[in-house]
Amino acid sequence: MTTIVTVGLGSCGIAAGANKTYEKIKALKDSEKLTFDLKKTSCVGMCYREPLVEITDETGTYLYGEVDADRAVEVIEKHINQHDPIRDYIVYTDLFDAPENDFIGAQVKIVLRNCGYMDPESIGEYESRDGYKAIKMIAAEKRSRESVIDTVLKSGLRGRGGGGFPTGMKWKFANANKSAEKYVICNADEGDPGAFMDRSVLEGDPHSVLEGMIIAAYAIEATGGVIYCRAEYPLAIKRLNIAIGQAHERGYLGKNIFGIEGFNLDIYIKEGAGAFVCGEETALIASIEGERGMPRKRPPFPAGSGLWKKPTNINNVETYANIPWIINNGSEAYAQYGTEKSKGTKVFALAGKVRHSGLVEVPMGMTIRDVIFKLGGGIKGNKRFKAVQMGGPSGGCIPEFLSDTIVDYDSVNATGAIMGSGGMVVMDETTCMVDVAKFFLDFTCKESCGKCTFCRMGTKRMLEILDRITNGLGREGDLEKLEELAYQIKDNSLCGLGQTAPNPVLTTIRYFRDEYEAHINHKKCPAKVCRPLLTYKVDPEKCTGCLVCSKNCPAKAITGERKKPHFINQELCTKCGVCFSKCKFESILLS
């Protein structure tokens, strides 16, 4: 067989320099007339080891990690030319014990079944991996719309965008509403900061999303499809466009597709213009219609009156990517994974203070601790695990003592957080929970569309209180005021954004009240993050007298002679933190 060299070219890989690696290997291949096949793929989820290069030869498959251009030369020389794999650089293989074998082994890949295993720009490769088999089977067996919906219903698949509404039910409602014009929409407006699952699926396996949409369109008799994708994801948009073009060429989109008489479907991409609230389905529809993305009252639900007031089915990227697998393997196969009420798998984007940041897909029901420690490899720098933030700005912080909570919709909801779209940002002892709450509220405050007064004004007032607390001006009664505002906002907002905006504050107050109290009552930030509450001092033992801090201090608060320990005048210090970040000898102490 010909040896295949595959370079991972997802956004994260490219950011880590994968293009240079690819160019280097290509140059080597051309200049030395090497005979291997050079291929591209997307993200396999192991972002912390990027750039990744996989070599498949007659002995097996080897995944090399952290392959920059220099290392690429070494790998090609040794592995390809001398047939001598470099064990030290191999992160995953099924041939021997490699460092990341557990990372891959503990996962169940349904949504990510093709991500990192094929060229996302090739419809042929998708088809060779059972692509478009599901819709072809539906057409060949002349399955009724109802039976397709029934399969999805029985699989127990729930909306992966965060809401968790049963997908089959949504389809059933949309199917029940008769109209000559109907739409399927894919919500790819992944706005949660800290979540990048949908981006990876779109970049790595755009055809599976298309196929999912085509099946949904068949099931509800849709006549048009729209993918609403963030403009911030240029690579995803590019690959989706390629995929749509290829699907047209093969007659998988267009008129009477898959030989089903009267099944006409076109799908186009609508680029979002940057508004978090457009993740909410009615706001998303308003945005496609060219208006300000403001949610409206439901009912009527989109299944009855959606895009252009026609029955519309909206699911997110991950939900659609599940569909072809479910049709191919049957609802029982899917429902064997997961818990009683949450079936199947869920993709999580691990990030923050965790060793292995990247994408993982696990069966529902795994404990949060296992996700973070078994797959995530634990906390960076051997610090103490403090909390994990799930669900982005709508979610909450789950503290360490609740980390045996299993991941399914209901268990996560019980903690006050939400499953959300699957972002998991891990926090350690150096993360200040008040600061995190403030961060999210700042986000929702900016992103509130302004329609409901409680969301528009309430988040602003909450932010002001949090600002005060982190600036050392917290007062007694602030926490009660925060809680009162939080419940008012939750009760009086129209859409999910407002109804969930206070969650980060409520969960941090619930689990980390002592931290808030330290800020308010003792004017201290235990995690040493909130600068106005810190004191900067020079460690005379470590200070080399290099003058860097005194030169950079904007308040001229630092004095001292060359090669002698410096001194910070606390009365002049504005706590800007410049000295701390400039000092190369770690001689500025925080307390």
Binding site: C47, P193, E232, A273, G290, G352, V436, K446
Partner: protein, 172 residues
Amino acid sequence: MRISRINKKENETGSVAQDLSLLDPLIAKHKGKKGNLIPLLQGAQELFGFISGPAFEKLARETGIPLSDMYGVATFYAQFRLHPVGKHIIKVCHGTACHVQNAVEISESLEEALKVKDGQTTEDRFFTLESVACLGCCSLAPVMMIGDQTYGKLTGNEAVKIVKNIRLADNN
């Protein structure tokens, strides 16, 4: 809510005589189609880097969409700029993962080095500094993006060095 307004003064000084006829093909393509407002604005911004007062007026005049509707939409979405931008746009990621890994330091160092605040453009129109929500490269946090290039695992000093090098490379 994000609040941005057309600044008449800045538009006058900032817009180096735009050739508004460039908008004609765009208008021809989208005129009369439903849901065309956002693509029109996106197209106009792609042409000029931002949407100027005169561009707004021309679009409104020739498509029949009320100026107030256009303005309402343009100020709603983060993507649209009503002010001219620098040659390079520096996007500093303030997603959750970057935030807990000190993205603030990156922004502050750049603000200090470029002598601009978040959202502003340097006097020589070389750089525009922006904070953005999430660039989706969480594993490389903290991250910034200049043009198509993403820079990861940054410190404040490194970010400043990168920006200085870009200026040097461009001046030569």
